[in-house]
């Protein structure tokens, strides 16, 4: 329990009257890669967006219950600080089209108007791009626009942008659903390296992906957390029949 980074206790979320996340209790440990899967509309993305308080930006969205980062209650912290500590990578690669690759990586500093010496910025850019396995591909074109990269490279650029802020946790919202298979496997490969330093929470539609990349898997169904267990256990002998039906594709 000391290793717990993110913990939700009886957490609920709504869109207007629509109760999308129901009484979820989950503890996510440090340096683990946790996959969140479930059928469409099961509340998994909403739950993810509750963790860094992106959920509340949607008009009519509300949340209730306890959500902690270490021992701090996320919902009493400044949302801006929460998002420094919990980075996010989205479904479609979304580098800032008006910024160069270099500026995209340090966008978190630049857009927030944080003053950092140039040498440090160079350092951050190189380190983050290296961690995102992109440095070798872009080191000669750092000042080209980020949108000139391929889809997979753009997504890794977005990952570098999240890493640059030195977060505790990185959330991934279906990070490879818009990528081709080669880019997908390069991003998946990255997860294995990233979890050495960060805690990763990945929402995915793709069961095989959950199986391949994660240490633990959470299965959501109609807003409830049905099962949360070691991925190996989940994919060989799930304890809930709904999980079994879902992963074997026998869902009616």
């Amino acid at each position: 329990m000391e290793n717990t980074v993110v913990s939700a206790t009886n957490f609920n979320a709504w869109f207007g009257d629509n109760h999308v996340v129901k009484d979820v209790t989950i503890n996510i440990e440090k340096n683990q890669c946790v996959a969140v899967m479930g059928p469409s509309g099961c509340g998994k993305t909403t739950f993810l967006r509750c963790i860094n308080r992106m959920h509340e930006l949607i008009p009519g969205a509300t949340a209730k219950g306890s959500m902690k980062l270490y021992s701090d209650e996320i919902y009493t912290m400044n949302p801006i600080y929460v998002r420094y500590k919990i980075g996010m990578v989205f479904q479609r690669p979304n580098p800032f089209p008006n910024l160069s690759i270099y500026d995209n990586v340090i966008a978190g500093y630049k857009l927030n108007g944080l003053k950092v010496p140039k040498a440090d910025l160079d350092n951050i850019v190189q380190k983050s791009l290296t961690s995102a396995a992109l440095w070798n591909e872009v080191k000669d074109s750092l000042h080209k626009k980020g949108t000139f990269l391929s889809g997979g490279q753009q997504q890794r650029l977005c990952i570098a942008r999240a890493i640059a802020m030195e977060p505790e946790v990185i959330l991934f919202d279906e990070p490879t659903s818009a990528l081709d298979p080669i880019s997908t496997s390069s991003v998946e490969q990255l997860f294995h390296e990233l979890k050495e330093k960060y805690t990763l929470i990945i929402v995915t539609h793709n069961m095989q992906q959950a199986a391949r990349v994660s240490d633990k898997t959470a299965f959501f169904y109609v807003g409830e957390l049905v099962e949360f267990d070691d991925t190996k256990q989940m994919f060989t002998a799930p304890s809930d029949v709904r999980t079994q039906n879902y992963i074997t594709g026998r869902f009616s």
């Binding site: 929460v82 998002r83 420094y84 979304n94 580098p95 089209p97 008006n98 966008a107 927030n112 942008r161």
Partner: protein, 280 residues
Amino acid sequence: MDARIGIRNTKSILFKSFIIFLAFVVTLPLIIVLLYIIKQGVMQVNWHFLTHVPAPEGEKGGGIANALVGSLLIVGMSSLVAIPVGILAGIYLSENPGTKLAYYSGLCVDILQGVPSIVMGIVVYFWIVKPFGFSAISGSIALAIMMLPIVIRSTEQTLLLLPPSLKEAALSLGVPYHRVILKVIVPCGFAGILSGIILSIARIIGETAPLLFTALGSNYLSTNVTGAMESLPHLIFTYATSPYDDQHDLAWGASFILLMFVLILNIVTKLITRKWKIQL
């Protein structure tokens, strides 16, 4: 079988030629008007024409310097007012679609866009000119009101086209809302907003009706914005209806200049949208 395919091919070729012919017919009036104005106007334009005020009636020579300066001043002042207000309103509309306020202000913008320019002129005339007298400022106000809906709508449309993921990307980095707008949303939509602005300037620079009531017109070179001032469209209007041939020539020259102005602005817009287009 072959014969039937042959007939079909002939039919489609005929249809295609017909469409091309129609497209040509449509552009014909435009080409004729342009050629005629250029033919009539280009002879009038020289350095003297651009730097001198009109000659007194019946005399040869003279230029349109007063109208040029006047038009630039009036349009400049209206841009100064309309552009910031328009952009901010456009941002509001694109950021808060579906709210009541956005709905009604959007409606007002549409109505404003449909108001005939002469009506705008008369309103400004009764509000400002009646109490304070004819002035360039009152002209600018009328034109600014005409500019607003174009700037607002073009800003709104441009920003609505930006994917929401862009905003989410910035928010997820902990960027506060006002910085998201200023540092991400507006820069990304810059080309679109700028071309909207230029188009709106091109639109109002040729506007005559509101200026009739407001800036009135003057035969002298004036930079006093609280007094009456000449402008290009107004000069064309007065001189074209005068009985002197010399003044008709002056009007043709001024029309040519105005036309060139609008043309250049349009070309610049096209270039900006092409060159600065942000690849999403």
